[in-house]
């Protein structure tokens, strides 16, 4: 009883903090004497957002970005989990690939973005491949880690009980590694979204990143703020859904 009351209190304070932040933002705009092209008030952001929706720009660019994210994520997921299972199951392959994967994961992938431009042009392929490139490494690393930590007894037991060795992958290793893989998939999604948006912001002809650039150079600050908030909310929503799924998965085990 006391626990659930405390939970509601925490929720309440969280909501109050968000409201407080909006008030602070509004106050800064109202009393800060800052020109409107730099900082818009929450109200102007809302108006800008409604304008974006009414002109149909938001829907068309957002649709484009979501398709790119979905394709990129599908690529990152299938390659990351697929190769992760194969590499993770063999110690020699792990030793060979782990250092490369770790280095590549830590490097700012934006540094090689120009190579992606010269390889893939500036259309949807660029954004899909760059998004997948961003999501891939953490997925494969977490898959390898998950498979590596599967207890040897499971594999031996399965083999003793007559499971064909090639079935080990999807009957034993994959199910046992699921929690780790799922963490990788969630963080990989954050990476993929980041990659697609980066590509759109740097060079593109469509997508929300492109729209943001357009609004920036036209100094449509209100619309820019509105769009930024919408993208932030969508990314939070995607992440929360994946986290909820991960928790359910853990609870079901």
């Amino acid at each position: 009883m006391n626990g659930s009351k405390r939970k509601y209190q925490i929720r309440l304070y969280q909501i109050l903090s968000v409201i407080g932040f909006i008030c602070l933002w509004d106050g800064l705009d109202r009393f800060g004497q800052i020109p409107d092209i730099f900082i818009s008030s929450p109200y102007q952001a809302l108006v800008g957002l409604i304008q974006l929706i009414q002109s149909g720009k938001l829907m068309s660019h957002l649709g484009m970005s979501l398709v790119e994210i979905a394709l990129a994520y599908a690529l990152a997921l299938s390659f990351g989990v697929g190769f992760g299972l194969i590499i993770g199951a063999t110690k020699y392959l792990r030793d060979v690939f782990d250092p490369f994967l770790m280095t590549l994961h830590a490097m700012p992938k934006i540094a090689v973005f120009p190579l992606f431009i010269v390889w893939f042009g500036i259309d949807i392929e660029l954004k899909v491949f760059f998004g997948a490139f961003h999501g891939f490494f953490i997925i494969i690393i977490m898959t390898i880690a998950g498979v590596k930590n599967v207890r040897k007894e499971y594999v031996e037991a399965a083999l003793t009980m007559g499971l064909a060795p090639r079935k080990i992958y999807y009957r034993v290793l994959f199910p046992a590694a699921i929690p780790s893989i799922f963490t990788g998939l969630r963080i990989g999604m954050i990476g993929t979204v980041l990659g697609v948006l980066l590509a759109e912001l740097v060079v593109s002809r469509a997508g929300v990143g492109f729209l943001m650039n357009e609004l920036t150079y036209e100094f449509k600050t209100g619309e820019l703020y509105g769009l930024t908030i919408v993208i932030a909310l969508i990314s939070i929503l995607i992440n929360e859904i994946l986290r909820f799924m991960g928790e359910r998965l853990d609870a079901g085990r």
């Binding site: 925490i10 304070y13 969280q14 903090s17 968000v18 092209i37 730099f38 900082i39 020699y92 030793d95 060979v96 250092p99 490369f100 280095t103 830590a106 490097m107 700012p108 992938k109 934006i110 540094a111 090689v112 973005f113 120009p114 190579l115 431009i117 010269v118 390889w119 954050i190 979204v193 980041l194 948006l197 980066l198 912001l201 740097v202 990143g209 943001m212 650039n213 609004l215 920036t216 100094f219 600050t221 820019l224 703020y225 930024t228 993208i231 932030a232 990314s235 939070i236 995607i238 992440n239 929360e240």
Partner: protein, 246 residues
Amino acid sequence: MRARITHICIILSIILVWEVISELKLVNPIILGPFSKTLVSLWEDLSSGIIFRHLKVTLMEFGIAYAIAASFGLFIGLFLGTIKTLQDIYEPILTSLYAVPIIILYPIILIILGFGMASKIAFASCIGFFPIALNTIAGVKSVDNQLIMAGRTMGAGKLSIFFKVIIPGALPIILTALRLGMNSTMIGVIAGEIIASMAGMGYLISEATTTLDIPRLYGSILIILTVIVALNQGASRLEKLVEAQK
């Protein structure tokens, strides 16, 4: 050992394949210049000082941004980590915000701060802040509760528990937090420079792309990667050193 040998073989064969396919013109020279030409152009850029000039700007932006990110991140992380109620309220908010690609704030920062160094510093410190703060909270949480209890029973005050129990206990994870934040800050600086800037390695890269100066493009990417690998190696050494002290 066998893995070591394979590593060296892989790297050497990548360089060999790179050289051969571009010398034989198997790929369009706009996509891939020969490795030897890349090295020559890199040497010219190094001796003409153009790389050092841009690298200096990038490292300066990185240094300032990292100092801001680390001090705010550590402060907020330790603060929220030690006060349970605030942690319950704000940690979920921080975790959710971490999912937001902070790159979307960059246009707003550009409008406010312009194309110079200030916008890169502001943006990169935002990006670096989150991993540092969140992992510092995790580090404080990882401190064994029994140690804190023991300290309290033996009559240690709140402050001395904080400095003598919590900080040393959380130190390994805090160092990891600082390393992750370092990588994120560097990503922020380079990304900021590539999108809009007037100087820095990111600027050099995007200029080489626009002028299709492929050897210089690959050369400057190699330099950035070397700097990042060096920073990471240094940080990992430090982490291992502290781990060994425990």
